[in-house]
Amino acid sequence: MTRIAACDCGRLRATCEGEPVRVSVCHCLECQKRTGSVFGVSARYPKEKVKAEGPSRQYTRIADSGFKVTFDFCPSCGTTVHWHRGREGWGPSDSEGLCVLGHAPIPAFPRASHGGRGTSYENAVFGRCSISQSRVMSTNSL
């Protein structure tokens, strides 16, 4: 299956082949600020399965894990469409490839991360939104 993730204005796109390696939600405060929502959702793909098109601007930060994470967002509408990570000094990306964000219906259940930001994973969003899947794992690592 091929899926296309796009920014709000449509200029920045990522075409993704096949199924994601995994899907995660992250409740860290950086993901909350990046999204403006109360958690981020990402589908991780092998890098060679994702083709990005369109103009992008990059924002890089150091994650809690020590990874350098570089986000590509659309300079016209601000949407972050994909990101990659690498250990500081290890080069621009690691072997796990890209995360693609966004709207495409995703078949896989999310795996939680940064559950420690809330009282519990199931009570993640203000303690009032549930992620209705029992197999998720709560972890504090990316």
Binding site: G36, S37, Y59, F71, F73, C77, G78, F126, R128, C129
Partner: protein, 133 residues
Amino acid sequence: MTIRLATCCCGRLRLTCEGEPIRVSVCHCHACQRRTGSVFGVAARYPKDKVTVEGEASEYVRIGDEGNEIHFRFCPGCGSTLCWEMPAYNDGIAVAVGCFADPGFTPPPSRSIYDASRRHGWVDITVPVERRG
């Protein structure tokens, strides 16, 4: 009076919000999903005169489903959208709740928009909300 600070990821764009929001909503529409990269957006609406914007912002305008312009302000350095307004309604300014970086933010949402048609199946809003669409 409660004063809350909302910031983008890199800290260049900041909002200071005085008092309590008029309401908090979640929206599952596709545009909110794309804008956030998450599966729904969360907005706290404030009276416009209670919000002070500091820092450089880029503006993105799109036409909402009701046919009116929505003006979004995002940080050109990191992409975070902090707030948006609908000039036609002049009913305040919406602030992206995640930008408060406060998991204890209150009040909880009272509306869930596009709840039936666009909400991802693994997500539910478990507080009493008015569900639309």
